[in-house]
């Protein structure tokens, strides 16, 4: 027995005029039981991951266990089989709900994961007892779009080759978002969230210029046991170019960095002999040092989140210092001004590990950890012991530019 056009029109007309939607709490409860991640834990997943990562990195550096191992693995996100099954289950449930809502007869229900993949031969549409194809358990790539999943699964499950089925699915897509909202299922979990992000992807600008500002603190370049530890503060501005590649994003720039030095001093006493002796004391207080930087970074995005590894080439250009000279305690000279950086290493290489969050499609806010690979001080004239691999933590903001 086949459906005539009139009959089909009648069915749709009745369904449109008298929509039957009986929501039962058990629907959601059934689904919720199958969800592996609770709602409260889904929100800060990336933040917590980033924090754990940063704290772990700091701990490694401070414990001296830092090793520059890089096994070359590329981070991959594998979708667990269970979660994929859940996804299929969700899809099936939704399909079932839609079927009910449109008046289609549904004789089977999905009550457990175990039933996923079983034959659905007993499922019928209306009076038609056309056997359905078995649901094939499929490895789903995590980046697949939800619509594709739904579409593919429905096709696999029902094997509807008629226009009616196509029509019913098209009609039911419209109610999908409503169903999700109604069920409060918007954050599905990691994969669902990712998929949702992919449903509404950020607008990515390709091959764009950017400006950035970094600000943060850094371990002081010298340490003195007699005094409390101090921190330098850093700020830099950079202009760069960003090139998105397949799964990564490469950026390189040029910037200016100012480091406010805290308690970096030279105090030299010289005994001058003559008819007696005088103590000549030369004191230098370095206030800041200015550098040119070339930041290079490669990052990988996970939706709005990005983790990047970079190298910053640094060239110290000049410093600002105060100079006071006294002879037997009597000040004979007092000057403040710019000076050369002969007492510092001219060049430096700074590896950087960063985490960032895209606030908008142009604005990026993030945290970065850096460590100077080369001892910044090039002289033993400074007070205190030089700090090895001074670590800095910075917050940065980057904005894409359109000229």
């Amino acid at each position: 027995m086949s459906w005539t056009d009139d009959e089909i029109d009648k069915v749709f007309r009745e369904a449109a005029e008298h929509p039957v939607f009986e929501y039962q709490a058990s629907y959601f409860q059934d689904i919720e039981k199958q969800l592996p991640i609770k709602k409260g834990r889904k929100i800060g997943w990336y933040w917590w991951t980033a924090n754990v990562f940063i704290v772990g990195f700091i701990s490694l550096v401070f414990l001296g266990n830092w090793s520059a191992k890089n096994d070359g693995k590329i981070a991959t996100v594998e979708t667990p089989k269970v979660e994929k099954d859940i996804l299929v289950a969700q899809t099936t449930v939704l399909k079932s709900q839609r079927t009910r809502s449109t008046g289609f007869t549904t004789t089977s229900s999905v009550n457990s994961i175990d039933r996923i993949g079983q034959s659905t031969k007993n499922q019928q549409i209306g009076k038609n007892s056309t056997p359905k194809k078995e649901v094939v358990e499929t490895k789903l790539p995590s980046s697949i779009r939800l619509q594709d999943v739904l579409h593919r699964e429905v096709l696999k499950t029902e094997n509807l080759d008629s226009e009616i089925e196509t029509l019913s699915l098209t009609e039911n897509y419209a109610s999908l978002d409503a169903s999700l909202l109604l069920l409060e299922l918007e954050p599905f979990g990691f994969e669902n969230q990712q998929l949702a992000n992919n449903l509404y992807p950020l607008k990515k600008i390709k091959n764009s210029f950017y400006i950035g500002m970094n600000a943060g603190v850094e371990q002081a370049w010298t340490s003195n046991k007699l005094e409390s530890s101090s921190m330098n503060s850093r700020i830099s501005f950079e202009l760069g170019y960003r090139i998105p590649m397949r799964n990564f994003q490469f950026s390189a720039g040029l910037g200016i960095e100012a480091t406010k030095l805290d308690d970096l001093r030279i105090k030299e006493r010289t005994k001058l002999y003559g008819f007696g002796s005088s103590i000549l004391e030369n004191s230098y207080q370095f206030n800041s040092i200015y550098s040119l930087i070339i930041p290079v970074e490669i990052s990988k995005s996970f939706g709005r989140h990005s983790i990047g590894f970079g190298l910053v080439g640094e060239m110290n250009v000049f410093a600002h210092a105060s100079h006071e000279k006294t002879v037997d305690g009597i000040r004979t000279a007092n000057a403040t001004g710019f000076t050369n950086v002969d007492l510092f290493n001219r060049f430096n290489v700074i590896p950087s590990l960063s985490y960032s969050l895209a606030l908008t499609d142009k604005l990026q806010l993030g945290l970065a950890l850096q460590a100077q690979l080369i001892q910044p001080l090039n002289s033993d004239r400074f007070i205190g012991a030089p700090t090895k691999l001074p670590v800095s933590g910075q917050m940065f903001i980057k904005r894409s530019l359109k000229f």
């Binding site: 005994k271 008819f275 007696g276 200015y290 000057a335 001004g337 004239r381």
Partner: protein, 356 residues
């Protein structure tokens, strides 16, 4: 475009700042080596002092010993005081050069055991008219009729001459005793019946360059011979004599115009009768150690040595005088001024002395 200009401007500003003169970091200076120090043995005890260490200070000054400059340096702290001085020489000349003398070797000055010179009233040619003379030295009363000089020096000797007629007159002359005199001379005078007074320099051993004549303090002539008319009152006649060899002496006589034979002759000419002892550029060493004071002045150092190894200009004093650094070896005797104990002293010195 505006943004690009901002960045360009910022880059230019950065480059300008980085190209500024920035050389204010001085290279570190190591501690200097001590400049002045002494070390040696006094008797069997070692001593040393370094100016700038242990509270020791080097000081220089020009002392005076009977109006003769004593160019002195001293290293001293609370425990040790080492003072070394050099007497001036050629003190009858304006310009002297101690540097030549230092390079020729230094002798130690020794106080004479006997008086260098005595001048009595009776030595004056008109002593029969003089009842007494009150001698003063450097303005201080010294003795009557006879004055004795024991230590070398340049003395301003005053003679307050009292004549038998109850009148008196006073003149003073500089006398150089115990030092080398580059010229000997004597003022002589003749007073005629009509008050015609002639005064001239006699018995001089060097050619005279010029003479300035003063009567009662007033310049009256620049001729080599004073020729004038005086009245019956007394006159102080002073001659400033410049000799060709650079020596400069001043002599004063007193002449009474009353023709009674009252005059005070040039008693300074008696200095040529003094001992042959000359302290020109001799040295004087004094060391105070452990509460005792030792000096070379009273010890016999005829065979002692003061070897000057180097004399170099070092700096200028606050008074504008040149200060020289003297490196030398000393091997001499010193006498305890209290106990008269004589001890040998050997020392190596790097010393500062201030000269004129």
């Amino acid at each position: 475009m505006k943004i690009q200009l901002k960045y360009l401007f910022g880059l230019i500003l950065f480059l300008m700042l980085s190209s500024c003169d920035k050389d204010i970091i001085e290279d570190p200076k190591p501690d200097e080596k001590p400049v002045f120090k002494i070390e040696g043995m006094l008797g069997s005890e070692a001593f040393s002092a370094t100016a700038g260490d242990d509270g020791s200070l080097m000081s220089t000054f020009i002392d005076q010993f009977h109006h003769v400059d004593l160019y002195t340096g001293k290293i001293a702290n609370d425990e040790l005081e080492f003072e070394l001085g050099f007497f001036n020489g050629n003190i009858d000349m304006d310009q002297t050069s101690i540097m030549d003398a230092l390079n020729q070797g230094i002798l130690f000055a020794k106080l004479p055991q006997t008086p260098l010179l005595s001048i009595s009233k009776d030595q004056l040619p008109n002593s029969s008219l003089i009842s007494s003379i009150n001698w003063t030295i450097d303005g201080q009363y010294a003795s009557q009729n006879t004055v004795t000089f024991i230590e070398p020096g340049k003395y301003n000797v005053g003679a307050d001459v009292h004549f038998y007629d109850g009148t008196s007159a006073t003149i003073s002359n500089d006398m150089i005793i115990g030092y080398h005199r580059n010229v000997a001379c004597q003022l002589r005078h003749f007073l005629g019946q009509n008050g015609h007074l002639q005064v001239w320099v006699d018995e001089y051993t060097q050619d005279i360059s010029n003479v300035k004549w003063y009567m009662n303090g007033n310049l009256v002539s620049t001729n080599n011979k004073l020729d004038t008319i005086v009245s019956e009152y007394g006159y102080s006649v002073k001659a400033e004599i410049n000799f060709v060899n650079g020596t400069k002496r001043t002599r004063t006589i007193w002449v009474d115009g009353s023709l009674n034979g009252k005059f005070i002759d040039d008693f300074a000419s008696f200095e040529s009768n003094s001992s042959t002892i000359e302290w020109d550029y001799n040295s004087k060493l004094t060391i105070k150690k452990d509460g005792n004071t030792y000096t070379t002045l009273s010890a016999n150092n005829q065979l002692s040595e003061f070897e000057v190894l180097a004399v170099d200009y070092y700096s200028t004093s606050s008074q504008g005088k040149p200060i020289y650094k003297i490196v030398g070896n000393i091997d001499c005797f010193v006498k305890n001024v209290t106990t008269n104990e004589v001890l040998p002293l050997q020392a190596t010195i790097t010393f500062a002395v201030e000269f004129k």
